[in-house]
Point group: D2
Chain length 432, copies 4
């Protein structure tokens, strides 16, 4: 028996209000696509099949080194986080799985599984944490101030490896089949670490984790140009990430977080190169204007998001073999996190649907004929298509809301949990 957090009648009632407009838009778009030889139902079906995981930490309000401004009803533990995740999926129908972060989300695995099942949720990739100290945890007596998997001291490295093995063990108990390893190791000053030796130490540690992976598991390593380390990071870009995946072996893949690159970098080309190398493991979706801003996916440069999906569709079978993981990884500093996650999942499906609309036969002809004008317009035409009604159709067919944010607001969920969950005071920088 399930225990969905939003009363279905709220969704029905909100949908009813919007159905006339929605039906008209969907019909008009269907006709327009038909004139281009595209059956709208095919797109709807593909969209329904496309899902993305939400991070457990994403339902809490994030912050910066300067401050964190929590909102009402912040979840106080993994069980409440799962409730919030269930709201997102109930309304949006595209986020059936949750990615956990240990140590924060550690609890009794059986209870976790029961809770998830009751909410129709499952668990995606596990995330370990060795970029913070937890002085009260008896398993973490040593500090990560100067690194973890690449630390100069073998004892710290061992502690960090052990933590990852624990996370894998926990993940097995709840049905996860992957671990994402992102670490804060690096340096703030030229000379602080030996760039070569610290990388060798990292590899040695990563190999110890890799060696303990269950048969059906994958390990995702994640590159990040800077922050929290400000002169060098141990996995600074996809080149190093690729080297790592090559050194580790066939179960190791590279994770691409959209916000972790140098200014101006062509991210969709990195995606293409990782597909070529058969090492694309998946994505952490978000958007950014300056650095690793961790803003809502698609909110700053929606065309860039579309171009990433264009590469994925273009790759065709090669991608299917890779089966990349999709996860949102954002920091919600000024919005209701539930709303941001609903919206972002929608933007991801939007980019996916638009990429499906690209006329690939025509595109290839333009490319082979050196016709950059028409090739460019071929992509732009797909991007310009307003697929909002396709996304809504996919949600409706799965029991979700036409306008999930409106339905969420109508439900009064936030007000309810604001009462049930006493306010959390102050707090410094958020964890994202």
């Amino acid at each position: 028996m399930t225990d969905m957090p939003i009363d279905p009648s709220v969704i029905e009632s909100d949908n009813a209000e919007r159905s006339t407009g929605f039906e008209a838009d969907f019909a008009a778009l269907g006709e327009q696509l038909e004139r281009c030889g595209v059956a709208i139902d095919t797109i709807v079906k593909a969209v329904r099949d496309f899902t993305v995981a939400v991070p457990s930490w994403g339902v809490g309000t994030g912050g910066t080194r300067f401050a964190r401004f929590p909102g009402p009803g912040e979840p106080r533990g993994i069980m409440e986080k799962l409730d919030d995740c269930a709201v997102i999926h109930q309304l949006g129908r595209s986020t059936p799985s949750v990615s956990l972060h240990i140590p924060w989300d550690r609890t009794d695995p059986a209870a976790l599984k029961d809770k998830a099942q009751s909410l129709k949720l499952s668990f995606d990739a596990m995330n370990s944490n060795t970029f913070q100290d937890h002085p009260d945890d008896p398993k973490q007596p040593l500090s990560y101030k100067f690194g973890s998997l690449s630390h100069a001291d073998e004892a710290v490295r061992r502690q960090a490896v052990e933590h990852n093995l624990d996370v894998i063990e926990f993940g097995q108990a709840i049905g996860s089949t992957a671990i994402t390893v992102w670490i804060g190791d690096g340096s703030n000053f030229p000379g602080q670490v030996d760039l070569l030796r610290s990388f060798e130490r990292y590899l040695e540690s990563a190999k110890a984790i890799y060696g303990a992976l269950p048969e059906d598991w994958r390990i995702f390593t994640e590159h990040k140009m800077y922050e929290p380390a400000f002169y060098s990071t141990i996995v600074q870009d996809w080149g190093t990430n690729l080297l790592i995946a090559q050194e580790l072996g066939p179960k190791a893949y590279c994770l691409v977080d959209l916000g972790h690159h140098a200014p101006n970098v062509n991210i969709e080309q990195i995606v293409s190169r990782l597909i070529f190398a058969r090492k694309l493991g998946g994505f952490h979706f978000n958007d950014s204007k300056y650095g690793d801003d961790d803003l809502d996916t698609g909110s700053i440069d929606p065309f860039r998001l579309f171009l990433v999906f264009n590469e994925l569709i273009e790759a065709g079978e090669a991608l299917e073999r890779l089966d990349p993981a999709h996860m949102i990884d954002q920091s919600h500093n000024v919005t209701d996190p539930i709303e941001s996650l609903i919206r972002s999942a929608d933007e991801i499906r939007r980019a996916y649907a638009q990429a499906l609309l690209v006329d690939r036969v025509a595109l290839r002809e333009y490319q082979d004929a050196n016709d950059p004008m028409m090739a460019s317009e071929c992509l732009k035409q797909a991007f310009r298509t307003d697929v909002t009604s396709i996304l809504a159709k996919a949600r409706i067919m799965d029991g979700g809301a036409i306008d999930p944010i409106a339905a969420y607001r109508a439900s009064g969920y936030r007000k309810k949990v604001a009462i049930e969950r006493p306010e959390v005071k102050g707090g410094g920088g958020g964890i994202v």
Copy 2:
């Protein structure tokens, strides 16, 4: 009577060990400079006269949104912070003043002045804070989550203005004559704020603060491209900063924080333009590789620091009229903050001394003759000069240490305060 934190015999003893090498280096440099027509004593004198303020918050360990790793002996209040600042000045002899941050440093003004006097310290520009909430402060009942001086709600703006007036009042009581206003206002999404209206609200608030400035005070506004706001900030660059200073009036000046610019920006040219506009108010010194990294001044790109000082020297009398304020503003995440501040003050004096060595008559001739090769070499030659012994000489003459970091380590100060000041647990992101 003063109460210096380091036993003078420690300095004397450390200096004694190093004096032979130092004397030889100083003599050799003196001869080399003499061959170029420069009297080394002139440079030493100028260096002795050049000072820079340290920020009270700089003596605590900083952090990022991911974590903060405090070190032993963290100061627990403004009085202990002043002790640490006194160590820096006693050894380095270039940082006689401290810049306070309210609310953290608020205490009885008379006690503060006494303490400072006993340590031979004075107070530089005051810093207000409206980028964090202080829910326990009865004067701050309203949240700054969505802005302060530019907030949509007039009541929040008024609260923020009042806070600044309080800071000025407090500053007057301890002998400060300037206030630096940096705020976190801005937006994370296109559309979140109206760029024009929010700027007008900011100006209205800033004018209210300006109107309350004592006769002999200056107000410094500070631009910052991003963080904590990630789509727009209210004072995003020097252009907006200039507009503000123009709107406010003759006591308003622009502060340049070296880390607050877009990638690749020519900062020394901004300095030159602000001198032209007679609105250069001063500096927040630090260094950075990626964003607003707040690393130790001169640690990443020492030539850039030199070029900033080259503009200051070049400006000559025009600069004297402006009398810009110099302050270090860094985040010390992995070093002992006292050591970083000693070193950074030294790097600032180094750049200043090197800039003094530029042969300005020759430079002007090269410039007017369109000889970029020799003009470029003219600067490089000054920059290449190892002025370490000049800096040491200036310190010695004022009672400081030849090698202040070595003397600091020899003094055992950190070990001592680590015992006196019980460890502060955990903590999230640091405040910088």
Copy 3:
């Protein structure tokens, strides 16, 4: 009597093929907008009234310092350039004016005016050129290698000023009322020029030009971060540009070229600030991914272009008083320049139409209520609207083509001029 380059029957015939689809799309969009309380005809009318100038140099193939690859039928002089511009306007109906570049476009003014009239074209802002040498021009005996308006040598500065006065005189003869001054002055090495003195020289020269402006003329100065100078440029950003416009007087305004900024810079905020300062003079439209790439407007980041227009619409009456100039300024290296200009003018109108669709009453409410989610979605909803049929409607009503690029290809114009205009051999870098 006019002499339009494309046979109207080509347009009619191409339109006929597309009219069914277009009518269906336009009707569906009209209904959708009506549900939101927007009358589609109002938008169509506004779009018809919105025009943008094309640059005479834009109809030739551009290049880079590495190579230029001309295409067939390159125009060999201003008269042929005007023919090409007429094609763009005949099909797209949004580019009735041409911006000239002197010395290249200098010819008999009366003949120029006649030619333009016969093509239903007029002349926009004039562009002077002091970033290249023209050794065969008796009026340009001195080299601009080391600068023009800011050159160390007064004789060079005078030559550059005289050139600008000539351009104004020529512009008066053909009905222009503005001059755009962009120069390549700057330096490649720290020290090469004195940043302050060279700026003062620039201002002196600019004042001499300003003093010669006819009563009804405006002068636009243009900032650019780098290239061709690689260490400093004389007008490096909007802050310096603002200083210049303030120094010169009420007829001086700042021109914003979208490609001339540092990485990550928020351009729409600069637009907003220049509106506040009443100094926004206009735009050079283009798009870019890395530096001043001069790619087709809207081809890389269409949302950014939309956000610029969002600021313009938001400014309302304040903008009307400024009456900013709109010009495309791009380098067409791999496309047929005519096609790129048709497409780009269309993208500009698209962004304008989308910005008109923003529900400004709702937006203001969201802003004042600190509801970043809905404010952000309010803009995104307008941006997502596929206004293609609105743009087509505006063209049709003015006699243009539903799909102007298709009609252009159907017309065979490029093949025709390829025969009439013998191929230009080789050539080094292009001028943009």
Copy 4:
């Protein structure tokens, strides 16, 4: 018998003037280093052994897409270019080899070898060119406008491969043992090329070149983020470059051009990673502030150059096995190219000498003890050392000039060739 371009008496005479100062500086530095346990003669010897190649195209004045401003006495062919290269080496004694660019430098190989021998020069890596069209060359009938090695058309790819094979053959005839392949392939618009397929075509072509490499040859591929292609380049970063070297085989290595990276990228870490992967092939040295500015090496960020050499020294034996190639690759737009190349070679040796001065035993201890302050200072101390007199000593011992630029100016070489080589008129963008 050799035929050196500068009369040795000029060097002797200039050296004589400077010898007193030089001797004093060298002696003082020797004493200072001795106090640190370093024998200055060891450093001098190492510096004498360190050489760097100059590019044949570097002795001509470069330019931008906007203009090129040639200077007096521009070399009109490869023989005159060799004369200029000989001047650089005669004075600076660090540039005994020249890197040629085909087709420009193609001539009778035997004559070339004779000429080089008479000037005591040899030949470094060859450079092919498929980023420009040469319509008059019967071997290049097809255009590279839309690519070369990755072109959609197999015939163009074959032409480009054939050109590279020709270059190798020519290189063999003159004693070269390496080819550097940099191409301009890429795209200006999303969609223009299929990122995956075009890379596969590139690899196929590269393999054809690789297959034809003589036994003792190496192939260097070079990455570049952008320009002349502005949306994607085929070898955009070191990650792709690494993939290529891995796909090609053991004779394939990655070349690092310091100017070809995204803003803020940590280049020294890329060097470290390529050493780890055993694929570092060598360097193209230059400096930059904004994009691929191609400014004089060390003129903008000398500390960054030092940090690159620090990695090379740190790598020790691993580097010796790689034996990386060193070449200057700059564009001299406003300086006398001979002077810029002399200065740049000097800056490279300076960074090398400074890197040799790092106390590596101490550094390792600081790193292992997590002492970032002292580790950072350890590097800075080496960097601060003014090794000018070491560089002069190395030159003197090999017959060069104490101040090679001064000696060059004293020689009157430029004036002489300005008469012998009639001025080249105009010219568009330069080739760099």
